[in-house]
Symmetry: C2
Subunit: 307 residues, 2 copies
């Protein structure tokens, strides 16, 4: 199965207690695509500037990612700078230069129109909706959003949420979106807005998926997957996008979509997130094997499963 | 098997978004004893004042708890007032009246000396150590502490930690005790201080147990148990002590102490914590059945286990 991701490609400048990295390849589309590439065919729709070289592109193509949807615009690629010096759980943004990303209008190549799975990365909700409406034949749509859109474009976001099957956001975003300080109550309220399932990412505590009654299976019992206790998180950038890539990539790799597949996908999300933070930027995600991934999946299982 | 708990008995005045309760029976010893009473024989060592009535005592004795170690002192019972109006995860203390608890010197009745399991509730570390040294024949000692002792009596606490097999504290306490902002690193540093295992309680995200190499089994892989996503937490007071009661009580109920028993105990800790917060004070913990507990254990399993 093929999954199409619409998101950002960026050059990140990052400082963490473990060191720093300047102008390394990043962006939600990049992290998602690399993580998902270990499970299924991945197609990227994004925009870059003149400074995006063949070498940068090869980071994706070496992983088999189809980059024909990457538009080259005049100007510079999106740049972001941030630090996690005081708190590894939340970036402090130093600068954001949208550059070519400011006028991004996703264009889906004809060859991508048959993608069965779609992931709407964290871009303006109206662009997310436009992409989704264009992709009529997708089986499942995942989506992300952030505080900026929840506060600034709530009306548009509300429309987009009706088109998303599984929304993946973090604790703070879920509480803000629902206007409720209890996560389980917030989850119920978000599900009323449209998605059939909601993944809430808790950072180092893992993630919980909440289901609408009867969505993808029986009942509405939530399910929780862990994160790996790690003594050193080198660089948290992209952990959430890598989680989404592992989660959606695994689902796309399976014949059918049911609760058991989705539960395993939640584990694979955690697995890919745990790899992402081991090295700066996307370095770790570029050089994994399926054996690495399966071994870590087993670690996640041992961490949570009774005998 | 019998477990002896040394802790506080208190009258709590609590305000939460769900309501309030005045002068209800509480204290670490009470919550622990009630939770553990569903698994094993429980003996309490604590101090109360003239205001502790036969009716209060019957809350414990109705659950089969042996109260012969409850000393009656002249004066009033420990009183605490707190609220969770802004944050269900952390109490804001309104008042603390130590009363008879201020001069508490635990005295172990001769009939309790054969207890195989011991839990040192959150009291002065020197008192914890004295009790532990008196109880020479215990198989396993669990212990709790808090920020107040970590900051104020570190030297005494360091001595006590050498006498504790399993320490149960929360995220903030673990980071403070280790002087490290990373939980897994903090865990490693705490284990160097003495305990063979460390349970870190994450509130609504569950708990993780870290092991010293080869303690209770093979290797040192951590294990994580969930908390139950609950739409309404009526009163978080005593959740941690109830967790400890379920955890230690289950271990005491088993023939041997190994990793699998400890993992299940971590689940039972979460189970008892989840019951405790459903009603104000100890009300829910007074009226459970083993079937209620087993059904919830099953819920915890379904929440985390792949098929």
């Amino acid at each position: 199965m093929s999954i199409l991701v619409v998101g950002s490609i960026a050059f990140d400048t990052i400082a963490t207690p473990s060191g720093r990295a300047d102008n390394v390849l990043g962006g939600s589309g990049t992290y998602f695509a690399l993580a998902a590439s270990y499970f299924t065919n991945v197609r990227v729709v994004a925009v870059v500037g003149d400074d995006f070289t063949a070498e940068h592109e090869s980071v994706l193509t070496r992983r088999g990612v189809d980059t024909r949807g990457i538009e080259r615009a005049k100007g510079k690629t999106f740049r972001w700078g941030g630090q996690y010096l005081e708190n590894l759980n939340e970036a402090k943004t130093d600068f954001t230069e949208l550059n070519v990303f400011e006028k991004f209008q996703p264009r889906i190549p004809q060859e991508f129109m048959d993608s069965q799975f779609l992931f709407l990365g964290n871009i303006h909700p109206s662009l997310q909706a436009a992409v989704r409406l264009e992709m009529n034949s997708v089986k499942l749509t995942g989506g992300d959003t952030m505080n900026f859109w929840i506060q600034g474009t709530r009306k548009e976001l509300t429309e987009t949420l009706k088109l998303v099957n599984i929304l993946l956001i973090n604790d703070t975003e879920a509480k803000m979106l629902a206007g409720d300080s209890s996560l389980p109550r917030a989850a119920r309220k978000v599900l009323v807005l449209g998605p059939q399932a909601l993944v809430i990412k808790h950072g180092e505590y893992g993630a919980t998926i909440f289901f609408r009654e009867s969505a993808f299976g029986v009942g509405s019992h939530p399910f929780r997957a862990p994160a790996l206790p790690m003594e050193e998180v080198k660089d948290p950038t992209g952990a959430g996008d890598s989680f989404a890539g592992g989660f959606m990539g695994y689902i796309a790799s399976q014949g059918e979509i049911n609760r058991e597949v989705i539960k395993r996908a939640l584990f694979y999300g955690g697995v890919m997130g745990s790899f992402a933070v081991e090295l700066f930027g996307t370095e770790r995600l570029q050089n994994l094997t399926r054996a690495d991934i399966d071994a870590r999946f087993q670690l996640f299982r041992e961490l949570t499963h009774l005998g």
